[in-house]
């Protein structure tokens, strides 16, 4: 098992945000976290990446508990692509991707670091942006750069917090196709939060629906994305059909 989350709980002061969350993820799998705003999706990602300290439970990456790892060791196993990156002092695309080698570089990037980074720049088709500053790029291009930086960490697991938010339709598909391709070819495990149920259905192997700090539903995309589950989770009526082998959700109305 690549990632094993076991009875993870987290609270801000007295308020319980996550209660006994358990799931697992294999290599090459994509797992999407779904749920309305404020259900703890991002908090769960941050707990798994040890940005937040979990209250109880454990997270294991290939049998090693993340609680026993140093930040440097952890960053070689799990890479994180946050929802927003506010670069106050921007640098070029090459330097941004090179930053992904920080866990491996002592105080200087080696030839191997450069080899890996330029290979990733090529894979991610970032050649023409290589020397551009990241604050001069569009949202979709920037997201590709941040995914490239995550890949430069040579992780086993990539965590993405709403990778398609604020992107246009073409960019959304492009980014998710890249993620799906990377997961399959590199045997990467991908854990992401996403709001678009149709995109989640198309690109996820498994889905978790979070509600009231707990897992409401967990399983294969086609089994989880049902009209009934969506009604309870989001309080909306939908029409759920199957198109080209994927579940397709059409929004109908709010439930008053």
């Amino acid at each position: 098992m690549r990632l094993n989350v076991d009875k993870l709980s987290f609270s801000y002061d007295e308020k319980l945000i996550l209660s006994e969350i358990s799931f697992s993820l294999q290599g090459g799998e994509i797992l999407s976290l779904l749920g309305p705003n404020g259900t703890g999706k991002t908090t769960l990602l941050k707990c798994i990446n040890r940005i937040l300290r979990i209250k109880s439970g454990d997270v294991r990456v290939e049998e090693d508990s993340i609680l026993q790892m140093s930040l440097q060791e952890l960053s070689k196993k799990i890479a994180y692509v946050p929802q927003y990156t506010n670069a106050v002092f921007p640098i070029s695309v090459v330097d941004t991707v090179l930053m992904g080698r920080t866990p491996y570089a002592c105080n200087k990037y080696s030839k191997k670091d450069h080899d890996i980074v330029f290979d990733i720049i090529k894979k991610m088709e970032l050649e023409k942006f290589a020397f551009r500053y990241i604050n001069e790029m569009s949202g979709g291009e920037r997201q590709r750069v941040f995914i490239a930086r995550a890949l430069a960490q040579a992780p086993k697991i990539i965590i993405l917090d709403e990778p398609t938010s604020s992107l246009d339709l073409k960019s959304q598909l492009f980014i998710l196709e890249i993620i799906s391709d990377l997961a399959k070819k590199n045997n990467l495990s991908v854990l992401m939060t996403i709001h678009d149920l149709n995109l989640a259905a198309m690109f996820s192997d498994k889905i978790i629906m979070l509600k009231d700090a707990k897992i409401f539903s967990y399983g294969k995309a086609n089994a989880v994305l049902t009209k009934e589950n969506i009604r309870i989770m989001y309080g909306v009526e939908t029409c759920v059909s199957t198109e080209a082998g994927y579940k397709h959700v059409r929004l109908l109305k709010n439930i008053k």
Partner: protein, 357 residues
């Protein structure tokens, strides 16, 4: 790898080599400037006399060149003054650059955290209330200014730690303490006798009038050691300056640890400089900005370039201050602001037009 990616890589390697060469040229330029600035002053000397004086000093034979008085003026007055300006410029600029990066804020310098007002408070206490051999000497002022500056930073980090040690809380606590120490200094000034008040004001202008080789040695050692330690954190500083703490952690870097270490080094450099020279604030803000605009935000190059720019600004400012209203010496802090601000605004405007910054 395809040809295109090879070309990109070669281009990147060429950029790195170009920056290294530019840095080497900048260092040579600053040495040439240093020699030139030694020649400037009330008593004009030429470059040959400077070299002769250095030879006389090295051989401990002041009669070389037949002008022992000139040799001693160059070695004991001009040279330490320029060397002090060099180290102060390097130290204040690098400290400013580091603080901006770890706080992720363009407007931060060590002085934002109350260092200048704290050391002014320390110096004021010594000047006004000092008694006895030690506390009435320059050494006493230096010791008091340094101690209060370090006390200030301990308070800043100590109080911010109670919240989260995040950039915003550190800056806010620093600003608060800045006003506190300003008020304390103003209270002392209010009750001080006129000649003591004049001495405080004179100290707060900041100048290298009292620079000696002993001071240069102390400041030089502190700046060099701090800089050497900072060079071990170049990559971590890059990570710190381009993303928030969550991203920094996910790249294997502990943001609070880096902020504490680099913040302490920046403050140590600043406190050691201003306790000898008085308050020279502006260069710590402007030199890093100029370096960022001209050479980018990669700390491997930005930090040394900021140091060179800061050194040039202070050396040039001090030289201009010595001759512009001869025989009156205008404090270097005033001159640096006059030459630095127009240059700074021009750079910002030109880069904003190009959309680069």
């Amino acid at each position: 790898m395809s040809k295109t990616i090879n070309e990109i890589r070669n281009n990147y390697d060429r950029q790195i080599i170009k920056k290294k060469l530019e840095l080497l040229i900048a260092l040579l330029f600053i040495i040439v400037c240093g020699v030139y600035f030694i020649t400037i002053g009330i008593k004009e000397v030429n470059t040959v006399q400077v070299i002769t004086a250095i030879q006389a000093w090295a051989k401990d034979d002041w009669e070389i060149g037949g002008t022992p008085a000139t040799n001693k003026i160059i070695i004991y007055m001009r040279f330490p003054r320029v060397a002090m300006a060099f180290f102060a410029g390097v130290g204040l600029s690098i400290a400013g650059a580091v603080m901006q990066s770890v706080m992720r804020n363009y407007l931060v310098s060590p002085f934002t955290l109350g260092i200048s007002s704290a050391s002014a408070f320390g110096a004021s206490i010594c000047i006004v209330f000092g008694s006895g051999l030690f506390f009435e000497s320059d050494l006493g002022i230096i010791a008091c200014a340094f101690t209060t500056a370090m006390l200030c930073i301990i308070l800043v980090f100590g109080i911010s730690k109670r919240v989260d040690l995040g950039p915003s809380s550190i800056v806010l606590v620093g600003i608060g303490l800045n006003y506190f120490f300003c008020a304390m200094t103003a209270t002392i000034e209010f009750f001080a006798k006129e000649h003591k008040l004049a001495e405080i004001v004179q100290w707060s202008f900041g100048s290298f009038n009292k620079a000696s080789w002993n001071e240069v040695f102390v400041v030089g050692v502190v700046i060099t050691l701090c800089y050497l330690i900072l060079t071990k954190s170049y990559l971590k500083l890059n990570v710190m300056s381009t993303g928030d703490d969550e991203l920094v952690k996910s790249l294997g870097v502990n943001p609070n640890k880096i902020r504490r270490l680099t913040g302490f080094l920046a403050v140590l450099m600043t406190a050691s400089i201003i306790s000898f020279s008085g308050i020279i604030g502006f260069v710590g803000l402007i030199a890093p900005h100029i370096a960022r605009i001209l050479f980018g935000n990669d700390h491997r190059f930005m930090l040394p370039f900021a140091g060179v720019i800061g050194a040039f600004l202070l050396m040039a400012g001090d030289a201009i201050g010595r001759v512009i209203l001869e025989p009156v010496i205008i404090p270097v802090g005033i001159i640096v602001s006059f030459i630095g601000v127009p240059l700074f605004i021009q750079l910002i405007l030109s880069n904003r037009k190009k959309g680069l910054w």
